[in-house]
Symmetry: D2
Subunit: 336 residues, 4 copies
């Protein structure tokens, strides 16, 4: 079978390997679709720390059909349509740093291969209404947004949600804000992208290139009260706090806080954090229960995640190129 | 000015009184609309305990225009459109039993009069999008449903909410479930009422006269998982628990638990409560912060509460008669 | 090796079997101590439903030394001192009814054998300060009390905790209330047992045989406010609610709610539940994170669980007899 | 009667004024004790923004005896021993920025006068076991620590609490950590002060002058897991985050975040906040319900707050001088 690997210093390569047999408690899944996240760009560019030191099969997010069962498996059956959490052992409750080495696509081989071995505890069955392509976008970006907006932020009817930028997490945050009855505000430096997000349901768009005081604009849109939930995806923590209401939530998404923007943007004024009075809560993606809840929500409402483009898996390099070019709105997907 | 009073043993009477002047911290409000709740039927029938021992102006829920300000008032201005909490001192946080004697329409004079004196701390300004008639339905039934579905139940996208019957609280629960992205299931003994609630947005209706196992039907509608939030408004606690999912919420609404149904229905099997694994949480209406959030949600979404009929205030007796006849779906409102 | 089994209709018998080898992800533990719970009395008496239909090795709670590792195990090492959750797959977060068939001693073989096979995910290492006998009392009764008093009840400094009776869960609830800075109130029908619980740290004892209005006595002890957390272990839900404060917690422990007391006690008046205003929350034991937190707390404070008597494992029948006689205060332990 | 005032540019002065009469809903309290907080030093030095622009009676914290009742008051009686919240209208629930202008000693006259006028809603009766001097230390520093450690941090048995420095809030955090069954770790640059805090119950002290990596030392003291609750009182947010466990709480106390330390310390690396995985939550003192709970806890346990020195009110300037000298451990109190 075909497998794509990232080797330190060598980028993405394709190899042929034997199809693996699932061990005890493992399930083999025929990959039907997988999606890319910003950290996959960092990984292939060599900037993502903490992962495997050797070669690794990338992509933490995918979906497929169960093609073989290891001994002792009883959560799924042959032919089941499934996806999986991005962190194998995180079923429910709190994130634990010891889970870091169970991360598919980084410490463990991920979805960019024809057949994937996964522990059965990581798997979630797909509702009939959810396609493979849609499901493949949920585990990292979708569940991160679900955790931020619904579980940690607790956004509900009449609340407001501010998403920074138009990347994958932001587009899920927009959709989830609307599903939860909240108002969705999105920022971008492109008026064209702002038009696009409004067509996707955003109540308001703010061009932060034209309005460097976008945090004040967001606050005014809430009648001066401040935004209930900010999905902080841009490494601009103090400005995000100033947009938030007292007692609100700034959900701190990791990748850009770690790597994006220039160094100055990586610091924040503690005074702004204090005076804003909002809770700052780091979001480490999410657990299996959250993935299950999110799939149920999308299936009930019959909506689709925002997919910018879909590539054939043999053309995975083009997907990586599009990711690096950063012109997309929503997710980039490969399918088999 | 005109005032309506309930005197023990004498029912509702109308009297003429001098228009009162607001004292320190008080506001006079010209009543524009007021609404009736089931407990108003109990009160006028002499069955509602714990209220004033003398005559009292009934109705806990209303809205109007500020017509006079007492000394020291700074939360509102003349001409402001306002409503008020049903319990004067409950601003935020937990209910405290000492608040019981601050209940408008029961321990303190309520809204069934041309001009009402209220403490400024009880008032909430109306968003422009909210009419007086709509606002008048929120303080008791609306906020009770908000507390049950949104704050205590935490219903969100993909969750399910079961409302028992088609009274005022149930119709708000239905609307709030939909606003929050959840699935709404409603029970009734009337197919005509079930048609009506479906036209109002309910995903499913269950005729409990035809299906005495309605709790099993509700559970099946959720794929066997159980309902996330049951708005228990019928004095059927053990059956409600059996409809709920493990870890879900049964929001126990008070009036019928206290007075409705026959005596057998007033007991429940503790075993059923335990085995269901759902939390049973009594709902004592709600506080001012909840009322503010709810008004914001209805204003944002531009929806109207379900009003069955509106009566002129001089015909308030007809509103009470309709309440007693129990054929309505949604709220009964009087307007001035 | 020796193993004790319960066979339907035949009670407890001892057999000799081969020492089992751990499979993938499994660990073999040499049992050093195990403890009995009231439900073990029900099981051996044939009254406990939902368990294995064939013979089963009883006891959900134990501790021992790791004696063999199956393939793929990395959470423990040979020689580690460990205990285990009572429900194998419940790591963190919410209880899920599908976990019911992972219950050691009921659906899966438990601790009453010389060597026990357990999934590595169920194991927790013992702090050095915790003995095997102490650890063996924690998984069911201890963690149930921890869940009720600390996590669900949130008891803190200045709060009050009421434990009904002097069984294992109640004695843990007493100790945890004191550790958390709360006041501990315990009921019993025996003045001698009340003296004993006071010597164990209880602030107040109530003889419910002399004071059938024990719920009123408890309320008076809190200055009329009501108890913050009631550990409802006696099938007396409505009286427990009447002892609780508005907004407090009645933690509903399962076994007696299901099987204890006479039939009348198995029903409760919904009106009392509503008017009390306390949350009623069923407690399904607890998860691995809770067990870890509890072990850390006992180790930090250097306290011992309340153990009534310790029996040699070859005399396990005497432990069962003591359990049935119901004269104990605290836990009954067997050791190897 | 005597009154002390702070006038912009003139520091503290004493004046004679008529004893005021309480208006509607107001209570006059004969001051028996009052306490100083670090922000009182800032205020008298002219650095505290947002307060009254004219002269003001300082001190937000005090206790005394009810000496006169205004019309409509029913929460207290003549002769009652009382204290008051620092923010008049904050009864329960969330802080709201509109409450800022209800702050005694800053926007409204405070406790440094012989007789104080207060709204009855701000008052809390003292348990018999609580002295005036003790009560006078609770409203700001005590309730801030209570909010941080008990309510927001949720510290319980076996958890760990890290308090930075030996000021008033830190000493309360130490006491509350111990009351709640947690381990208390305190930092200081003085070994003598560390000895003192250990004699007050601290489990561990860290000299941050000798150990600039105090956050690593704190983490090691918890076995590498990280501290559950950090009371961040030193403007060192990123180091505090690095001391905290994943999922733990960094309670961000305001005054030093706003004014203390040098400018460099006022910024933090967002990366550290994200990677730590702890929630950062600003603490705006606390509400009346928290003050009541805290008084109940201290009364139950019979412990005293840590008071460094007590001054006669006529010598209030010495108390301010001691505050500025910063050599104290615990609170500075004036009494009448």
């Amino acid at each position: 079978m075909k497998r794509w690997q990232i080797e330190p210093g060598k980028g993405l390569t394709q190899v042929e390997v034997d199809t693996p047999e699932p061990g005890h408690g493992q399930v083999r899944v025929r990959m039907k679709a997988a999606s890319l996240n910003y950290r996959d760009h960092l990984q292939v560019s060599g900037f993502y720390p903490g992962g495997s030191s050797g070669s690794i099969v990338p992509l933490s997010d995918g979906a497929g059909e169960v093609s073989a069962l290891g001994p002792g498996v009883d959560r799924v059956e042959l032919g089941d349509r499934v996806t999986a959490t991005t962190i194998g052992g995180w079923i429910d409750g709190e994130y634990d740093p010891s889970m870091r080495d169970q991360s598919f696509g980084f410490s463990l081989d991920g979805w960019l291969q024809e057949e994937v071995l996964l522990p059965e505890t990581a798997l979630v069955k797909l509702p009939a209404a959810i396609s493979y392509e849609a499901a493949a976008t949920f585990p990292c970006a979708g569940v991160t947004a679900w955790n931020a907006v619904v579980e940690t932020g607790g956004a509900g009817p009449g609340d407001s949600v501010l998403a920074l930028g138009t990347g994958g997490v932001s587009m899920f945050a927009l959709q989830l804000a609307k599903l939860a009855g909240a108002r969705a505000i999105v920022t971008s430096s492109s008026d064209a992208k702002l038009e696009r997000v409004k067509s996707l349901g955003a109540d308001d768009g703010i061009n932060y290139a034209q309005r460097p005081d976008w945090h004040e604009v967001a606050r005014e849109l809430t009648g001066g009260r401040g935004v209930d939930v900010v999905v902080e995806n841009a490494g601009l923590l103090d400005l995000s706090c100033r947009a938030a209401r007292s007692g609100g939530t700034v959900a701190l998404i990791g990748v850009l806080a770690q790597f994006g923007g220039d160094e100055a943007a990586q610091h924040c004024r503690v005074r702004d954090v204090f005076l804003a009075g909002a809770r700052v809560i780091p979001i480490m993606m999410g657990n299996r229960r959250m993935l299950e809840r999110m799939l149920r929500a999308y299936a009930q409402h019959g909506i689709e995640p925002v997919i910018d483009s879909t590539f054939e898996v043999d053309d995975a390099e083009s997907a990586y190129a599009a990711l690096g070019a950063a012109g997309h709105v929503g997710k980039l997907v490969v399918r088999a």
